[in-house]
């Protein structure tokens, strides 16, 4: 049994191409699995705040492995940034590059560290591998690097401007030492660095064995063909979309208004974000690359959510922005909370399209990452721990179904929350409650899904809390007469009973028996509540999802 490249005809048989293409996803799957198993921090292995990707020699995305849709399209500009900065002659087999500056491409905030490895077969560049993960701490003014109070990127952590950290297989120890010295959690950082390397090296080995088996020409052709297939699928799906211009706007909690206009024609999906507010003085800004990812996600959701995504899948997208606006912020704008800005935009695009595409889109969901950052000494060991956690929330109802309870945002995917039993042991705090939030709101013929109530009790002195949520004043939007959902926020109940409510805060001090109470929103409802079937309302009452009083008021169901 032998299979050699020579037997292949110049135009390659379709079976071989199919096998190579399925092997490309097997490679990124393996890179993903390796990263997940070796990473040191829960934000990577549990929350899956990371992604891996494989590119052709031109740096076009051929295959990606991710638990999060928001990372699929993010790495392509990273490879482009390296290709732009380095001459081809300075890129060698065995090199690994690192970058994390959002304004330079390929990243969304300083904590997202990208590693890039060029793959060479018989001396010539055949592709690229990349890996991006959220690193817990890279220094900066605030623990964890993230704060709504940051005004410049310099405050958000150490900047890595596309540097070669491994040169022909040799680690640049000086660079690694600087990175580790700047991190508040050097051990974790070191582990996550090597996890990234292990993941890409595993991918490289598999990539090269594919080349070995089928030949360089066939692998190159299979990647090009796969990207072309991605484009073909996207364009075919566009013929079924309603055509026209779809608009939405939203008033932010600080009074600014954001807006979007999406124009769908037979061959283009144009997102016009011109005329949006100037970039913020705070860290609630996003880069053009992050904004483009929002467009990719909503486009994929309405065209072909069931298939793979690669460079071709997103070719019909055109994006118009004003340079220096919150959706296209310029250096040195702070961006650590970019994810809330991106989330606002994703929700806005979703809101613009949902009324026209009820087969693909629900009413509004809780639409905030609800990033919750806490830290302090473990009461047993004194070891200082940092928690970086997005929170679960309620999803909107749709024409067929009630909204989903307690799910991560549309920006997330196969992301897992951290079990209470694990967090208590690891971080040395106590969780008093994790329950569905029965706050009123989101009623309709189909009801919005519920958010959560999560109460963290602090068990040691010298802890701190940083957070910045959105949708803290206005709940998720309903559709077709469904009611607006409830809101996201945090309450801090001090040991003496003093209670404060927060939409955002930076490093507020916490001590023994202070309780941080997280509330996340109910999603928007769908359809007139009066049309909800009586037996469903009775079931909701029995399950405690709605009170008898509220049922009478909203649904007109009297028990």
């Amino acid at each position: 049994m032998s299979s050699t490249a020579q037997e292949l005809s110049p135009d390659f048989d379709p079976i071989t191409i199919e096998i190579i293409q399925s092997s490309l996803s097997a490679i990124t799957d393996e890179m993903f699995a390796t990263m997940r198993r070796t990473a040191m921090s829960s934000i990577i292995y549990e929350v899956l705040d990371f992604g891996v990707a494989l590119f052709n020699d031109r740096g076009e995305l051929a295959s990606s492995g991710s638990g999060i849709p928001g990372f699929i399209g993010m790495l392509e500009p990273g490879v482009a940034a390296i290709k732009k900065k380095f001459n081809a002659a300075d890129i060698h087999d065995g090199d690994i590059f690192m970058l994390n500056i959002p304004h330079h491409g390929g990243v969304s905030h300083i904590n997202d560290v990208v590693m890039i490895l060029p793959v060479f077969a018989h001396g010539s560049l055949i592709g690229w591998l990349a890996n991006k993960a959220h690193w817990v701490d890279l220094g900066g003014a605030f623990p964890g690097g993230i704060s709504p109070d940051a005004t410049e990127v310099y405050q958000e952590g150490l900047q890595l401007p596309g540097i070669k950290v491994i040169d022909r297989g040799e680690v640049n120890q000086a660079v690694l030492d600087i990175i580790l010295m700047n991190s508040r959690v050097p051990e974790t950082t070191k582990g996550d660095f090597w996890a990234g390397v292990a993941s890409m090296r595993a991918g490289q080995k598999r990539f090269l064995s594919l080349v070995e088996k089928y030949g360089e020409a066939a692998v190159r052709h299979a990647m090009t063909d796969y990207i072309a297939l991605g484009e073909k699928i996207a364009r075919a799906a566009m013929t079924d979309l309603p055509k026209g211009t779809f608009e939405a706007e939203e008033t932010l909690e600080d009074g600014r208004v954001i807006k979007a206009a999406i124009t769908i024609t037979d061959d283009a999906f144009t997102v016009d974000l011109r005329g949006n507010p100037d970039q913020s003085k705070t860290s609630l800004n996003s880069s053009r690359d992050a904004t483009f990812v929002d467009c990719q996600m909503i486009f994929k959701a309405i065209t072909s959510p069931e298939t793979f995504g690669n460079a071709g899948s997103f070719r019909p997208i055109e994006l118009l922005t004003d340079e220096g606006s919150i959706f296209d912020a310029k250096y040195p704008a702070a961006m650590s909370i970019y994810y809330e800005t991106s989330m606002l935009l994703f929700d806005l695009l979703w809101k613009a399209l949902a009324p026209a595409m009820p087969n693909r889109l629900t009413a509004g969901h809780y639409a905030s990452i609800c990033g919750t950052f806490m830290g302090g000494p473990h009461p047993e060991t004194g070891h200082v721990h940092g928690i970086v956690e997005p929170q679960l929330g309620g999803w909107g109802a749709s024409q067929e179904h009630d909204g989903i309870n307690a799910l991560y945002t549309g920006y997330h995917g196969d992301t897992f929350n951290v079990p209470v039993e694990v967090t208590e042991q690891r971080n040395g705090l106590m969780v008093d409650r994790l329950a569905l939030n029965d706050a009123p709101g989101g009623e309709g013929e189909r009801i919005g899904g519920k958010g959560i109530l999560l109460d963290y009790r602090i068990l040691a002195e010298d802890w701190w809390l940083t957070m910045a949520y959105t949708r803290t004043e206005t709940g998720p939007w309903g559709l077709e007469g469904g009611l607006e959902g409830s809101t996201n926020f945090v309450e801090v109940v001090k040991a003496n009973g003093e209670t404060t409510r927060h939409a955002a805060c930076t490093a507020i001090p916490l001590g023994v028996n202070d309780v941080v109470k997280v509330y996340t929103a109910t999603g928007g409802g769908y359809g007139d509540p009066k049309k909800r079937a009586r037996e469903r309302v009775l079931e909701d009452i029995k399950n405690g999802y709605v009170s008898k009083e509220r049922a009478k008021e909203i649904y007109g169901v009297d028990v």
């Binding site: 079976i15 997940r36 198993r37 070796t38 292990a198 569905l436």
Partner: protein, 687 residues
Amino acid sequence: MVKIRAASDVGGTFTDLVYFNIDEQTGEVRSVEAEKAHTTPPNFEKGVADAFSKAGVSLADVEFFAHGTTVVINALTERKGVKTGLITTQGFRDILEIARGNRPDFFNLKYQKPEPFIPRYLRREIAGRMNYKGEVVKPLDLSGIDPILEDFRNEGVETIAVCLLHSYANPIHEIEIAEHIREIWPEVSVVASHEISREWREYERTNTAAVCAYVQPTTEQYLGKLETRLEENAFKGVFYVMQSNGGIDTVTATKRTPISIVESGPASGVLGAAALGEALGMKNLIAFDIGGTTAKCSLIDNGEVAVTSQYMIERSEKSAGYPIMTPVVDIVEIGNGGGSIGWVDEHGKMHVGPQSAGAAPGPVAYGKGGVEPTTTDANLMLRRINPHYFIGGEIEADMAAVEAAFAKLGARLGLSAQEAARGVIRIANNNMTNALKLVSINRGYDPRDFTMVAFGGGGAMHATALAAELNIPKVIIPAHSAVFSAWGMLMSDLRRDYIRTQPCLFVPSTAQAVSDTFKEMEREAIAAYEAEGIARERVRLERALSMRYQGQEHSVRVPVAEGGLTEAGVAAVIEDFKAAYEREYTYRLDNAIEVVNFSIVAYAAVDRPALAVIDEGPDADAALKGSRRVDFDRDGVLDAAIYDRSRLGRGAAISGPAIIEEAGSTTVVFPGQRVTVDDYGNLHVEI
């Protein structure tokens, strides 16, 4: 005088019975026989009894009976368990519904989350709290329980799951609640989470207790009926149930926490491979099973069957599924079997599976109306399967229909019928290769160090090509490969897995505490066996630790020697951990190391028969049936010698290209490959 050891496996259509006739003098297996009867839902025990009577076996002669059943998985997937209530820690009744919040189908904004097995109004809370060290932070308040039970009675609840936070560290509150319920409401079934799992992660453990309670009454009833049926027919032997962990266990233990048999069937084939390897002196094996709709594989490292407690049901790219924390043989399964359909999508890409032609209409060659070509049809098209000896000659394959089906498939890609059939085989083989890589290369194992044991109806047909692809040097096609899973059950020992989460730093100063935990777990395991009349001498214990670098989540399993752990022993375990970690993840760290889980596997030996030696027959020509043109894909279309496996004696040798036919299976020997027949009738193919 002959004694009988029998195993039955209840499938969707047929109930298989395999039995050994054992020579009482020599203890050797005199013959291996198989019989099948129709499965008879909902009274599955009838099908089992039917198979015995059809085989003419008197249950009075059966000294050992092992049973594999899908009763648990069926009750789960068909949602045919009973009404279940949950009692949990105050503040946490919604854990079962919140789950882990993940959405694997991540481009889809209309994702549907799996519904909890217990609705909110039947999930109730009780005051009392442990911390992660197993210390009582707030005492248990049993006063709240009676009103809950009253509500449960009124709602018609038949079974109750109890799962409290940190019960893996200290189960005393769960025990108190379960005892209280059993005392005041003895008719209701109760399952407490610690009886199944002592591992952390509250959603997974709660769901495990919930689904176990949900299926408990149904399973207990079924096993009870089967026991009665056996006794009525004068059965006086011992009755065991095949477990998901690759061992067997008593009916009494199974009735208590039946979730342990959720993967009763698939595990036994892997165990069979391990048992065969033991008999042949081979310790590194890859078990590979191709059935009608799926292919399954599992790696056996140094004689140890890999077992995981991170088992999921209904998990897919579209759904988060449900976790079940019970030890299950770690099997990778893909939707590619003999009945898997080859098809071309709207974008001109060819795929094989996961849709299957099933038993009806079956492959096109059956002539029962199937029009979509399957993997089996492709093997016929390439003449690897003999059209005139299809399913042991039961059916004359409808080759005109098969050729037409491939011509149609090929036309969509500009390929001939023959090329399309090769394409189906190549794609199916590639899918299977990827599955085999997942259990080997991706976990740091080099396939060159392994022997593949291939079984099931299609195992022998594809194994030799896959082994060549992966550089696996040898494939064994066992005697009776078509009923190998049932054979595995007959070679099984009792096995119980005890896993306990007890995180601690692993340093010389904790060695004593580590030893003490192992000793306590071992005492528990031995006591449980002794309570069922199984003597200490029969029990063999294996220890292992799940370890990781401090701060990581995922751990590596490291075997630990018996006895007290010395300081030198600690250093050796650390080195073993680092080596195992490096093999899997390619690097070492200087970071501190911690233990997460302690695990004990407690085997109780069962007398196993010796394998019977077959007649000598070094001349393979005696089994030659003729020759035909066979398509070996890239090796060309060649004249292949065709052999009748039943006539091959020990010592026979065959060189490829060749085909070895038997009633339930066909072995494809590629040019350059060489086959020898061992003393027991197994085929050894050198790749």
